[in-house]
Amino acid sequence: MLLEVRDLEVTYGRTRAVQGVSFGVAQGEIVTVLGANGAGKTSLLRALHGARKPQGGQILFDGEDMTTLTPAARVARGMALVPEGRQIFVSMTVEENLLMGGYMRRDDAVHGDLAAIYDRFPNLAERRHMKATVLSGGEQQMLALGRALVSRPRLIMLDEPSLGLSPLFVEKLFDLIRELNRDGISILLVEQNTHMALEVAARGVVLELGREMLSGPAAELAANPHLAEAYLGAA
Amino acid sequence: GETIKIGNIVASSGFLKSVGESALTAFDIAVKEINDAGGVNGKPIELIRFDSGSDPRQASVGARKLIQDDDVLAILGPFSSGEARVALNDADRFKVLMIPTAASAPGLTDDSKYGWRLTEDESKQFGRLLAALTASDIPHETAEIVYVSDEVVANSAGTQLYPALMKEAGIEVGEPIPVQFKSFDVSAQVATIMKKNPDVVAVAGLPQSASKVIKELRRQGYEGRVIGSQIFADPNIVELFGPEGEGTLVVAGFWPGRTDAASTFNTEFLSQLEDKGIHKLGAHHTDAQAYDGVYLLKQLMEQTGVTGDEDKLDEERAELAAAMEGVSFNGIVGDNICFVGHDAELPGYVIEVTGGEWTKFAEAPADKCD
């Protein structure tokens, strides 16, 4: 397992957002985390990335205990997060935002990577010298994605990456996810677009009120009647 | 009560901390001496102290606390004019004698019934200085005045008292030049002075302001005399001004060599401060006046025979305050000290800073009271 989560607990005062969740992401695997609003998905990712200290449990990355490490240490070891709400730097230009993604990198190849990202996101290429604040919602989402890619992660954690993207672009996004995965990058995907998430993922974890409700191969989950009712909406 | 309680408002924190602490030491010396000698009317004196933090509002709080809660017979302090101005109103309202320490703002006690000062008038002291200057062979045809405009005493001295007295003494004097208390660079003011290059520059301001002016004057090559009255007459200026202060003339209200008692006090005072880690070159006249303030109270208390009993508090307070009328007092600052209005008539000592020493240049006896 590249990433292993054991009995993770995240609480905010009295609110217990994540309660004893355990799962793993293997090298080169896509795992999706599903759940209703407030299920604790974002809280889980924040804890995995180190933005929030977990109150209990253990996080192993590549066999190493990450639980007490800083986010910087995790980025250095190859974890990247596309956070909820994009969190881009609105007063910086698009290009500066992308460069910030390579903050932890010591090599000089960053500019080459930028070119690849501009190829993939033409909207960004056109606006590379504009302040990020004027970008449209979807463009900002692309920027957040691109920024995470610049750090050349081994594991990328996506918090609702399809949010605000047009259907065509959502397709592209999932293509991208597959492609990244083919390159050997592991992916932990939090999505509300349950269908597509289960389509692309190998395995899934379903959270409910912070607890692990279901987990298993994606195909099994997609066939689960309870899940269909709770998350997929009537067809 | 077991003791006779006297209130004491001091500034032992805030920007007046250092000067306030000197005064506090002087008070303590006097009280200890009196108590060691058997106290007053058979009882020891107890100083009840309140720190005003150099804040007028706190001085008022202190006055009320001492008067209403601690049942003191009279109050020594507060320290500065700003504090005294507010606290004197409380003294008057509650009809308790109050003797501020270093508050020398003109007219401070004019409307006060219960406030009395052991402080000499700035204009009188400056007049004495001018007299000594005229009598000497120091050139003094022309003069310029620099004053600190946002400081009450310095402002009135610089804009009113000094020009009038200098004109009277036949000195040609230019328009007074203001500096601000907090400003650290006075090169612009000094540059205008240097243009006129007067024989004498009179400075009205506290030591730190005077020091800036003097240093800048010397830096720009001024060679005449710097004079000032008692506002910055602190023995420590010898050190603060350094070599640039050479030849400065000031007027102090206290001369340690005047009597044995005065010099004993000065020595004791310095050694006690040294123990507290405060380095002083000599007692400031306000320190001596603080010391004398305690003895003045002692004299009044003996004269009226107060007991410090709680049930006689009001009448004893009234007696004490009434006894100030027409009082005559011998202390370390002078003998047969009397009051005109509510301010004392004190002698003046013109001091010259020469060879890094605080030396007596001339002296003038206290004026007579009518």
Binding site: - | K17, S18, I177
Partner: protein
């Protein structure tokens, strides 16, 4: 001639303001934080320097130190205090305010530090002005009948070099980029691996260094220090910073000098009493006509404080 001297005087005073103004600009433009401890840090350098030159190290560890050494240690004290301020103001703001922009918090804490430092200095060194035992020779040069202060020229030159270094650092180094990211969005910055706890202290160290330098040069220049010495300089430096514009270090340089000139020329023409109205009035007018200051960037300093 007199007017020329006054202009030179203005430039000289201005150069004192410049150093402190640059310190203010640094924290406000990078961290959006109006650091009220700056004047106090300046004072700490001067007073500690004096204390060491006069008394020596505390607890009788040494006799009086030579003044250059004393000043160096004074400057160091100011750097240490600045780091302490960072430890308890900015650091907590970040950890407890991950996603909000309440920049008022460090403002309050920095005032707490002002109280602490000022009163500690009073406790140990008293509240009086003190003569600083500077170099024995006169440090004033006369160039064509105009008095020029050598230490101020030196300090101005040093500050210019420092600013060049700062500008380079902000533009071209990783620290510079990390700082900008933290200033804008500490959450996002830390997601990308920026470590505020490591690089924000750099700003505070520089601030302390600038204040220490300014305090030391002030002591040499004017031969006098006091626990109140930071007050006037602090507010005038703020005025200079605003006139110059918050985003720009060069703006702070220009602003500091402008304030010095306005001050000295006002004294020359109208007297010292008019200075307060002139300097702050000029500032108000500048703000109302050009709300971003002379050289300021539009965006900086407008965030919620």
């Amino acid at each position: 001639m007199l007017l020329v001297q006054q202009i030179v005087n203005g430039l000289m005073v201005g150069s004192v303001y410049v150093t402190v103004a640059v310190a203010f600009t640094l924290t406000i433009s990078i961290l959006n934080f109006l650091n009220f401890t700056i004047p106090t840090l300046f004072m700490v350098a001067g007073m500690v320097g004096w204390g060491l030159a006069y008394f020596g190290l505390p607890f009788g560890l040494s006799g009086p130190l030579a003044w250059p050494l004393a000043l160096a240690v004074g400057g160091l004290a100011s750097v240490l205090c600045s780091l302490l301020v960072e430890r308890f103001t900015f650091r907590y703001m970040r950890t407890r305010h991950g996603d909000s922009t309440e920049h008022a918090i460090p403002l309050v804490s920095s005032l707490g530090f002002l109280l602490i430092l000022e009163n500690l200095i009073r406790i140990f060194y008293g509240s009086d002005s003190q003569r600083f035992p500077g170099p024995s020779s006169d440090l004033t040069a006369q160039i064509g009948g105009i008095f020029v202060r050598i230490p101020q020229l030196v300090s101005f030159a040093i500050v210019m070099l420092l600013i060049l270094g700062l500008v380079w650092m902000m533009k071209s180094t990783r620290i510079g980029r990390g700082l900008r990211a933290i200033a804008e969005n500490p959450d996002a910055a830390s997601i990308l691996g920026v470590e505020p706890n490591r690089i924000v202290p750099v700003v505070f160290m520089l601030t302390g260094l600038l204040c220490g330098l300014a305090g030391a040069l002030f002591a040499v220049n004017y031969g006098e220090v006091s626990p109140q010495m930071g007050e006037d300089i602090g507010s005038k430096a703020i005025a200079g910073m605003v006139v110059g514009g918050l985003g720009s270090l060069w703006g702070a340089v220009a602003g500091g000098i402008i304030v010095g000139l306005v001050e000295m020329l006002t004294i020359h023409f109208f007297g010292a009493d008019a200075v307060q109205v002139a300097v702050w009035g000029a500032l108000l007018v500048t703000l109302l006509m050009r709300p971003q200051g002379l050289f300021g960037h539009n965006a900086i300093g407008k965030g919620k404080l």
